[in-house]
Structure formats: structure tokens, C-alpha cells
């Protein structure tokens, strides 16, 4: 079984995004850092093994997991039913609010208003799923490789709006003050740690770990450190 295998090996391979601030970044020492990295380190410590963080990307993170290149994903992976068919999720350890942010001069206040407009999202992300779900026929969804490209498309006027997380919204408002507004919320998204299916023992251990850091305030500290906000209630409440 995986847990004993990992303990025997003495090291756990954790997949993590490094281009998804503030959850996953490369810090100034060029080490993986961020919300996910802190959680990953705690997880390894909890299992009593060394941590080996493997940088993955949005599109290839699930292949990494499924092909056993890594043991577990702590990669801001939003919990969705489709994904749940391929991987098993732990209880949520983080959450984001997803919303539409768009050009201030245009009225984009509801899904109906987006018809005929170009809406950018990061491909294979939960934003993608959320926008696709609310979008009415005629909405032009444009999928980019990552949030940065989608953001750039918004800034350069190549799209009218993008679907993104609250952290990205904050960045856009800072980079281009006064040009864009958050028009309407899409959904709240909780993120889970993911493992390959049928690893019940491993998943149970991870769930125990998540419950522990929620209870003893360590997760709250991480949230304060990286999001400058308390752990969202919908994350704290979820089981």
C-alpha cells in the first residue's frame, strides 16, 4: 500500500503548480513556495518523510498523478465531479472565489450580457469549467494556457472579460487600476489534495492530516500568510 511504500522510501513526491500565485510560486531563492508548498511540507512532515516537490503545470498535473510520476497533488486542484471520476480528492484544504472581471466601459453584469462577448479563461482550470457552465450559447469562450495569458489577453483588449479567481482579480486591479471591474461571481471553488483512485488508506491518512491542520490553526496561519485573509468559511466548514 502507498503509505508504507512512501514511508519505506523516505520521501514523498508532491506535484505542485509553480505558476499560480499565491498558491504556487517560485520564491526569490527559486524554490517552490506559496500556500500549496507550505501545505505540502506539512503533509510530508506529518508522514515523517522528506518532501520532493515536483513542479507541474495546469494541463499536465493529472497525467503526472495518473502515470505515477508523483504520489499526490497539492496543486490547487479544484474539486469537481468530472475530476472526481479520475482522481480521489481529500477534504478541502483551500478555496477561492471565482468571478468574471471585465472591461469597465462595457456592461457585463450577467451571463446574458456575455453573449457575443469574448471571455478568456485558463484552459483545463476550474474557471474554465465554471465559465463553461454559466455561459449561454453565443458566448465566445477563449481558452489560454494559463491565467497569465488570459490576463494578458484582457489587458491587451483581446478579450472583453475573463473568468478567474479572487487572487487574480486583485492582481489585475493592481496592475491596471481603473480599467476593469469584477462584474459577477461565478462560484466558490474548494481545492483538494488529490491521489490516484482506490488508495483508501492513503486518502484516509491525508484526510486526517487536513482535519488536524484545520483544527490546530496551522492552515489558518498559512491562509493569513499567503492570502492575507482568514481561511474562507466555506473551506473551514467543508468536510
Amino acid at each position: 500500500q502507498t503509505v508504507s511504500e512512501i514511508k519505506g522510501r523516505g520521501v514523498i513526491n508532491i506535484g505542485m503548480l509553480v505558476d499560480f500565485p499565491p498558491f504556487g510560486i517560485m520564491n526569490t531563492d527559486n524554490q517552490p513556495d506559496g500556500y500549496d508548498a507550505d501545505v505540502a511540507k506539512l503533509l510530508a512532515a506529518d508522514l515523517g518523510v522528506k518532501v520532493n516537490i515536483v513542479p507541474v503545470t495546469g494541463p499536465n498535473r493529472i497525467p503526472y498523478l495518473l502515470s505515477s510520476q508523483i504520489d499526490v497533488l497539492v496543486a490547487s486542484l479544484g474539486i469537481t465531479p468530472e475530476r472526481a471520476e479520475k482522481v480521489d480528492f481529500s477534504s478541502p484544504y483551500a478555496g477561492i472565489r471565482l468571478s468574471i472581471i471585465g472591461d469597465k466601459t462595457k456592461d457585463l453584469a450577467s451571463p446574458e450580457k456575455l453573449v457575443g462577448k469574448r471571455v478568456g479563461v485558463a484552459r483545463a482550470s476550474t474557471q474554465d469549467t465554471a465559465v463553461t457552465k454559466v455561459a449561454l450559447p453565443g458566448t465566445l469562450i477563449q481558452r489560454f494556457d494559463d491565467d497569465a495569458s488570459a490576463t494578458q489577453a484582457l489587458l491587451s483588449g483581446q478579450v472583453d472579460a475573463i473568468g478567474c479567481s479572487n487572487t487574480v482579480v486583485a492582481q489585475i486591479l493592481k496592475v491596471a487600476p481603473g480599467r476593469f471591474v469584477e462584474t459577477f461571481p461565478l462560484s466558490q471553488q474548494v481545492q483538494g489534495i488529490a491521489v490516484r483512485p482506490k488508495q483508501t488508506e492513503f486518502l484516509a491518512a491525508i484526510n486526517a492530516f487536513v482535519a488536524k491542520i484545520k483544527a490546530d490553526g496551522r492552515l489558518e496561519a498559512i491562509s493569513q500568510k499567503w492570502l492575507k485573509a482568514p481561511l474562507a468559511d466555506f473551506v473551514a466548514a467543508a468536510k
Binding site: P63, L66, E82, R123, A124, R143, S149, A153
Partner: protein
């Protein structure tokens, strides 16, 4: 062990086919436009006017020594800042043409330079003007000489076009990524689109062979 399950991939086959169609269309357009422009650039590069040669040379060096990804990025995200805004498909086409021409120009130039001087002299001795010599005497044999190189560059262009998915042009790779993001059947999706790419390049090879037989029917000496 991984369970292969192609059902979700085939369920999305029309999306993949649409992506393949976009890839084909983009490649064909870029080839056609790029060929014409490259011929012009190659003529400029073999011309007697030095500044013209330098400009073309600078363009070629710039494009050939930087990644396509960066080029397409500047075209799609950068050009709007000088007021040139275009759709992802148009930007993808432009980027492919700009990239392809840098390589094709060099290939065609080599073809032009392989034409024996005697051919040019014979044309001039008959009273043809330089442009007429180029058009009627040099061009066709030059293209024939480099035809194999040119067609592999064409295929390469089609394969490179997979990068345009970064600016959300709906090509085959983008379609594959979208299907993958919905179904998470990444292995299956990539296998299938690899096969589709292979079929398309095989198709192009066959097409180029047919064009070669039709366009270059004249026999070569020795």
C-alpha cells in the same frame, strides 16, 4: 495500472475534427501565403540592392533565432498596443506566415543560387529583363531543386501550428487540450491526436508528391 478508455475521446470526435480542420486550414493558408511572400523575399535577398538584402537578412535572423511561442505572443498580445488587434485565428495565421517565411526564404534562395549562371546569361542574351529572367527562367527550376526541403518545411509548419493553442486559436492541439480538460483522458486524447497529426502529414506528403508530379513534369538531364 492505467485503464485506457477511449469512449470520452470518441464522444468528442466532432470537436477534434473541427480542431483538425482548423489546423489544416491554417496550415494551407499559411503555406500558400507564405510561399508567395517567400519567393518575393528570396528574390530580394538575391538582388543587387544591398539594403534590401540586409533588411531581409535581419528579418530572417530575428525570426529563426527566437522561439515561435514568443513570436506569436508578441503578435497577439503586443500588436494591440499599437492598435493592431486581430482574432486568435488571424494572429495565428500571421505568426505562422511570419515564422514560415524566414525558413522558406532561405530554402528558395538556395534554389535560386543553384541555377547555373549560363541559364541566366542565356535569358539575358535573348533580351529578357531581369524580372522576366527571374519569373520565366529561374523560378521553376529553383523551386524544383529545393522542393523536398520546401515540403518538409511545410510539414514542419503544420506541426508547429500546434503552438497556436496558446492564444486560444482552436486548432487540433487546442481541441485536444479542451477535450482533455473535460474528460481527463489525457493519454487517450494525446494518442488520438498524434495519430491524426500523422495522418495529416501523410496526407500532405501524398499531396505534395502529386503536385510535384504535375508541376515538375519536365525531365532532368543526366
Amino acid at each position: 495500472m492505467y485503464d485506457f478508455n477511449f469512449a470520452p475521446v470518441f464522444a468528442s470526435s466532432d470537436q477534434l475534427l473541427r480542431g483538425a480542420a482548423v489546423t489544416l486550414e491554417l496550415s494551407c493558408e499559411a503555406m500558400a501565403i507564405g510561399l508567395v511572400i517567400s519567393i518575393g523575399l528570396a528574390a530580394a535577398k538575391t538582388s543587387k540592392i544591398a539594403p534590401l538584402r540586409w533588411v531581409v537578412q535581419a528579418y530572417i535572423e530575428l525570426i529563426r533565432n527566437t522561439p515561435f511561442l514568443v513570436q506569436i505572443f508578441f503578435i497577439f498580445f503586443g500588436l494591440p498596443s499599437i492598435g493592431l488587434r486581430m482574432s486568435p485565428d488571424a494572429a495565428a495565421l500571421l505568426a505562422l506566415v511570419v515564422n514560415f517565411c524566414a525558413y522558406a526564404t532561405e530554402i528558395i534562395r538556395a534554389g535560386i543560387e543553384s541555377i547555373a549562371v549560363g541559364q541566366i546569361e542565356a535569358g539575358r542574351a535573348l533580351g529578357l529583363k531581369p524580372l522576366q529572367v527571374f519569373r520565366y527562367i529561374i523560378l521553376k527550376p529553383a523551386l524544383r531543386t529545393v522542393y523536398p526541403a520546401l515540403t518538409s518545411q511545410f510539414i514542419y509548419l503544420m506541426l508547429t501550428s500546434s503552438v497556436v493553442s496558446v492564444i486560444s486559436a482552436g486548432d487540433l492541439t487546442a481541441a485536444g487540450a479542451d477535450v482533455q480538460s473535460r474528460t481527463f483522458a489525457s493519454m487517450e486524447v494525446y494518442l488520438v491526436i498524434t495519430v491524426v497529426y500523422f495522418l495529416m502529414s501523410a496526407g500532405f506528403s501524398a499531396l505534395f508528391g502529386a503536385i510535384e508530379r504535375a508541376a515538375f513534369r519536365y525531365p532532368l538531364s543526366r
